[in-house]
């Protein structure tokens, strides 16, 4: 299927004095999608967003919106709007004045401003707070004001820089649902920056993972989750087990590797040669547990002992010590969690659930 590209970021580099904040980032963003940029602190997410918004000028590279080169345009001439990490609401203004700001600046007539403010406040469901001072609002309400203030300008692209960072977990979860609803109702393109992988998986259509000024992997969120390209991505998104192993036998796409005295089956499209070292990522939820030795074809099966269990709401995470002394994490739905620390156990996963990584 051919997708409509609204924003094109081409080989952006950004240097601040000694610091190389972005090292050649290229990115295509599709119209109407919600793209989440995920990465640890200092990976350059904010810098990229600010360059797209025009608040920062790239050292080199180009930005296109709908095919038009906007690299040199100032922020107020771009069809983007940004929601800031600390929201940056204007503290001396009411909700109305904050939301109306962009329209007032453009000299839009008062009755149209009133109409559009009402409309957008309706959308974010805080119309009743219109005349409050923004300093008298709760964190979640302030969030909605910030969103309304940007959306009222009907930007082609909405940029959100960790806007939920300061809120508590429960409120964040509530707002995740709200954000998805608002995104669907408005239908424009959103780029949402966060360092919280759970948030990314909840919100995103697609996820782009950044590290050290580079975009490491971008794709549909489940593709990124299930087929991480590097160890960094595998470990950053979700929990995983990483097995450092060495290839011993290769039969087409079926590979056998040695891992601390145990033999693992791996499925891979990559060209590998015997003797090569390899990292294998296996998500804890893809590993099954059984008291009796299973005899399934196409599975890796190992024996070990449960050393610890942690309850995490809907699932339980077991730590298991294998016979070769290595630890493996396994998650099981709470209703199926019938094991106790000390139990001898077999664990198994389908060979194609192990993902070989490029370091």
């Amino acid at each position: 299927m051919s997708k409509d590209i609204v924003l094109r970021v081409v080989d952006i580099w950004k240097r601040f004095g000694q610091v190389e904040a972005l090292k050649g980032v290229s990115l295509d963003v599709y119209r109407g999608e919600l793209l989440v940029l995920l990465g640890p602190s200092g990976s350059g997410k904010s810098t990229l967003l600010r360059i797209i918004a025009g608040l920062e000028y790239p050292t080199s590279g180009k930005i296109y919106i709908d095919g038009e080169d906007i690299t040199d345009l100032p922020p107020y001439k771009r069809d983007t709007s940004m929601i800031f990490q600390h929201l940056a609401l204007f503290p001396h203004m009411t909700v109305y004045d904050n939301v109306a700001y962009g329209l007032k600046i453009r000299g839009i007539p008062k009755d149209e401003i009133d109409r559009r403010v009402d409309e957008v406040l309706e959308l974010v469901r805080i119309r009743h707070l219109k005349d409050r001072k923004v300093t008298q609002l709760s964190g979640g309400q302030q969030q909605r004001v910030a969103i309304a203030r940007s959306l009222i300008l009907h930007p082609k692209i909405l940029l959100l820089d960790e806007p939920l960072g300061a809120l508590d977990l429960k409120l964040r979860k509530e707002l995740h649902i709200e954000l998805r609803r608002i995104h669907q109702e408005v239908g424009n393109t959103w780029i949402f920056v966060t360092h919280d992988q759970e948030e990314a998986l909840t919100l995103a259509d697609r996820i782009g993972v950044m590290n050290d000024g580079k975009l490491i992997q971008i794709g549909d969120k489940w593709d990124v989750y299930e087929q991480p390209k590097t160890r960094f991505v595998a470990e950053f998104i979700g929990e995983t087990n990483i097995f450092e192993c060495r290839v011993v036998e290769v039969y087409g796409d079926r590979v056998y590797a040695e891992w601390r005295g145990l033999k693992l089956g791996v499925k891979t499209d990559r060209e590998v040669k015997p003797g090569e070292s390899m990292y294998l990522s296996v998500r804890p939820e893809y590993i099954g547990l059984s008291k009796d030795k299973p005899s399934n074809e196409g599975y890796n099966i190992f024996h070990g002992m449960i050393t610890d269990e942690v309850f995490r709401g809907s699932y339980v995470m077991y730590s298991i010590k294998l016979d070769n002394g290595e630890m493996v994490k396994v998650t099981v739905l709470s209703k199926d969690a019938e094991y106790d620390p000390g139990d001898e156990i077999y664990l198994y996963w389908r060979v194609d659930k192990g993902v070989p990584l490029k370091e």
Binding site: G54, L55, Y76, M82, F90, H92, I105, S150
Partner: protein, 287 residues
């Protein structure tokens, strides 16, 4: 439970008695005496306890007083406006630069205040006076032939010296307010489509309004009662209310001096009330 709160309240009340009494005895009672004396006839060396409005009638009708009053307001208003115009860009510049460097420069702004202002005022004489540096410079540049006397012993000199004296007290409140505005706020305004000028008008100016209050209390009101500066550098055109009051007090004409003082007090209180109306009571002790 209730008694516990009451005990606390009583303790709080008792601990405030010294301050209440102190201000009462050494401020409010003297003010009442001042007020009383202002209603006695204008006599020299004695106070005659007879009620009269003569002094106040004088304040409003004697063209001499009238002129000095207007002069006082003129000088103080010009100085305050000049101070804001001169001081704001500096504070803005300091607030937008590296935090540590800004703080260092502020430190250098404050240091000169450690020299008593009378001495600094007097040093201006060497700069602005008849045989001062400024005249010397202008003559050597060929702009004038004979030394000008307008720089010194004039209202201009008073304004210049007031600017010197109060500039740090204008820059600091502006600075404090300006550093409180995060970069994000400016970015947000720019992102929403505001130009530089619009940002300045809609964001920066409204957010430094509290500094204006501090400046009125810190600079404008004290200047209204200034005595030494006009006395030392003001000459005829730079005469101010403080000089007039001192003239009567030194001549021991207490009644007129008291009336003029009370008049000054009322003016400053009205000004304070306007400020409190605009900014609220909390403005008196929170910045």
């Amino acid at each position: 439970m209730k008694t516990e709160v009451d005990v606390k309240r009583i303790r709080m009340f008792i601990s405030n008695i010294p301050s209440i009494l102190y201000i009462l005895i050494l401020f409010y009672i003297p003010i009442v005496i001042l007020l009383a004396i202002s209603f006695t006839p204008p006599r020299k060396f004695i106070v005659e306890w007879v009620f009269t409005l003569e002094n106040y009638v004088n304040v409003f009708t004697n063209p001499n007083y009238y002129r000095i009053l207007l002069n006082t307001f003129w000088i103080v208003i010009v100085a305050t406006i000049m101070l804001i115009i001169i001081g704001f860009p500096i504070a803005y510049y300091l607030a937008r630069m590296n935090r540590r460097l800004g703080a260092k420069i502020l430190y250098f702004l404050i240091i000169p205040v450690e020299i008593n202002y009378l001495i600094r005022v007097y040093a201006w004489k060497v700069i602005l006076g008849e045989n001062g540096f400024l005249n010397l410079l202008l003559i050597s540049l060929g702009i004038i032939e004979k030394p000008l006397t307008i720089f010194f012993y004039s209202w201009v000199a008073v304004v210049i010296v007031l600017i010197h004296e109060w500039l740090p007290y204008v820059i600091v409140p502006f600075y404090v307010n300006l550093v409180g505005i995060s970069d994000e706020i400016y970015d947000a305004a720019m992102d929403l489509g505001a130009t530089r000028l619009q940002i300045f008008r809609t964001i920066t100016l409204p957010l430094v309004k509290p500094a204006i209050l501090t400046i009125v209390f810190l600079v404008t009101i004290p200047s209204l009662g200034e005595f030494a500066i006009p006395y030392l550098v003001g000459g005829q055109s730079g005469i101010m209310l403080g000089v007039l009051i001192d003239r009567y007090l030194s001549g021991f004409q207490l009644a007129i001096g008291a009336a003029l003082s009370f008049f000054l007090l009322v003016i400053t209180l009205i000004l304070s009330m306007i400020m409190i109306k605009i900014f609220g009571y909390e403005a008196l002790y929170t910045r």
